[in-house]
Amino acid sequence: MRLSSKQATLLVLAVLILVSPAFFPSNYYYRVGAMVFVNAIAVVGIAILTGYAGQISLGHAGFVGIGGYACALMPLHFGVPPLLAVVLGATLSGVIAWLVGRPILRLKGYYLAVASLGFGVLVAMVLANEGQVTGGPDGIKVPDPGARAWLTGLGLELSNAQFWYVFTGLFLLAGAWLALNLNDSATGRALRALHGSEVAARTVGVDVARAKLMAFVISAVYASVAGSLLALQNRLITPDVAGYMHSIELVTMAVLGGAGSVLGAILGAALLTLLPQVLTVLQDYEHVVLGLVMMAVMIFLPAGLLPSAQRFMRGRGE
């Protein structure tokens, strides 16, 4: 049996998630792994928006913030169970993305970049300033969803870090599967067509505005779910997750690994999440290295690491 490239991608991802723990020197690395998965979920969303549809957003951390705060505020103010809050937060993000996306997706290039950036900054500001509701700049506690206790009750004993590693890993697999399916669907073709040329896509009957809006809403839902998982895992959420720098990091992760491919986006998320872990030794140089990496990759490997590597391998095989 030959695997399709979609099945191969998912298989590679599943094997990586399963096998990596064998190389973990300590329990702490489960936590790092879960952080990689959470970022990767948001970045797969960016891959759909930027890689498939060619639209840029410098404000997606705003949706990460909405998803994260949904898990803190809905249980606190309305007594919603935390896991239901993940779904409600994602729905809310989708609705907000739909409302915001309609006007701003008419914009192109730098204008779209700055409008989305403005949206993200406004979300972060509201989260920081409305202290009575959101807990203010220091953040707010997030309740325990109770899923680990439930598993323990079933006789499956996992440490907290292990539980979140598995839980976020499953979400990432599901997210990657959906993104790959989307790529093969009619909507995926429409997105790639408008990426190539909006005018050409319109000529062959693609509803460009609708397709862009769909990519924006879907990527917002990914970001929101990532934010929710981040909040539930850390049991704390702060307004920084919605900030400008986080939006930049997400886009950089996607573009670094190769925004056009789901696996590339995940690779980018893994590299940029691990970078600060490696650099704690030279903490002062973190920004210098990050800036250099961003510039160097864009100049020398504009397609991103994974597509460039694949092209290199293919070139050698011939």
Partner: protein, 296 residues
């Protein structure tokens, strides 16, 4: 608190709005110059302002007189601007917008990181150029430094206007921004125009940094906010239009000051982004922006 807002309060807000607005206008002008020469929106623009402030502070505390310190700061920053063009922008010529955004954001993070290593994380301030005894006008206090800021901005705008309209080099820059290929065909060295534009833009940013540092303390982190505000101002006026940069900067400064004064100082920084969103919804190409048709 009375319902009637005293005139002096309003005047005070207007004064601080114009002061900050002049700085935003200079940052927006820096964006505009580079955008016109290269079609790149330089997200590292705020770092030029930060460098101007930080380097002049370091030079003054090393015992140099202020004018010399300012000159050194401007020259070094201009050189950094040229290096940015040569090392990061030129090699990526023709790259998609997303790549260029990442490159200039990468440059801004890099510059910030280096500044933090060289000058530390502290907050610094320059002494005012001519004392800090405020002038009083209809009950509003005006810092002498505010006058310096506004005068500096006016001088730059007039100087640049003369440069672009009256000198051959300036016209070469304009020609290049209109049509690079046509400019090359008539013998303009467009590579030099790019270098010059980055030097000018960085130098103007640094000057803005020198002028404002006696009023607003500087640190390695101030660049991001300034870049975003200057970007907002440039967008507000219409990207690529120097007059738009001036109008956008002043308008943004005034709106911010009035918001802080009458509504909420917490949301002062939100004004820029709120304005951006509203303007872009209503006029997708900015107030003074042209509306070119897309070539297929």
């Amino acid at each position: 608190m009375s319902d009637l807002v005293p005139f002096s309060d309003l005047l005070q807000f207007l004064v601080s709005g114009v002061t900050v607005g002049a700085v935003y206008a200079l940052v927006a002008l820096g964006f505009t110059i580079i955008y016109n020469a290269s079609d790149v929106v330089n997200f590292a623009q705020g770092e030029f302002v930060m460098l101007g402030g930080m380097i002049s502070v370091a030079a003054v505390s090393a015992g140099l007189p202020l004018p010399l310190a300012a000159l050194i700061a401007i020259v070094i920053t201009a050189a950094i601007g040229v290096a940015l063009n040569t090392l990061a922008i030129e090699p990526a010529r023709g790259a998609p917008v997303v790549s260029l955004i990442i490159i200039t954001i990468g440059a801004s993070i890099f510059i910030r990181g280096v500044t933090q290593i060289v000058f530390g994380k502290g907050t610094h301030r320059l002494p005012p150029f001519s004392g800090d005894a405020p002038l009083h006008l209809f009950g509003a206090a005006i810092l002498p430094q505010s006058l310096w800021v506004v005068a500096g901005a006016v001088a730059i705008f007039v100087g640049l206007w003369l440069f672009f309209t009256r000198t051959l080099t300036g016209r070469a820059v304009l020609a290049t921004s209109n049509n690079r290929l046509a400019a090359q065909l008539v013998g303009i060295n467009t590579g030099f125009v790019m270098t010059l534009s980055f030097a000018l833009s960085a130098g103007i940013g640094a000057l803005a940094g020198v002028l404002i540092t006696p009023i607003t303390p500087t640190s390695f982190e101030v660049g991001i906010t300034l870049a975003l505000k200057g970007f907002a101002a440039a967008m507000l006026g219409g990207m690529g239009n120097p007059k738009g940069a001036l109008a956008g900067g002043l308008l943004l400064g005034l709106l911010e000051a009035l918001t802080a004064g009458y509504l909420s100082s917490h949301y002062k920084d939100a004004v820029a982004f709120f304005v951006i969103l509203v303007v872009l919804f209503a006029f997708p190409r900015g107030l003074y922006g042209s509306n070119p048709t897309e070539r297929v």
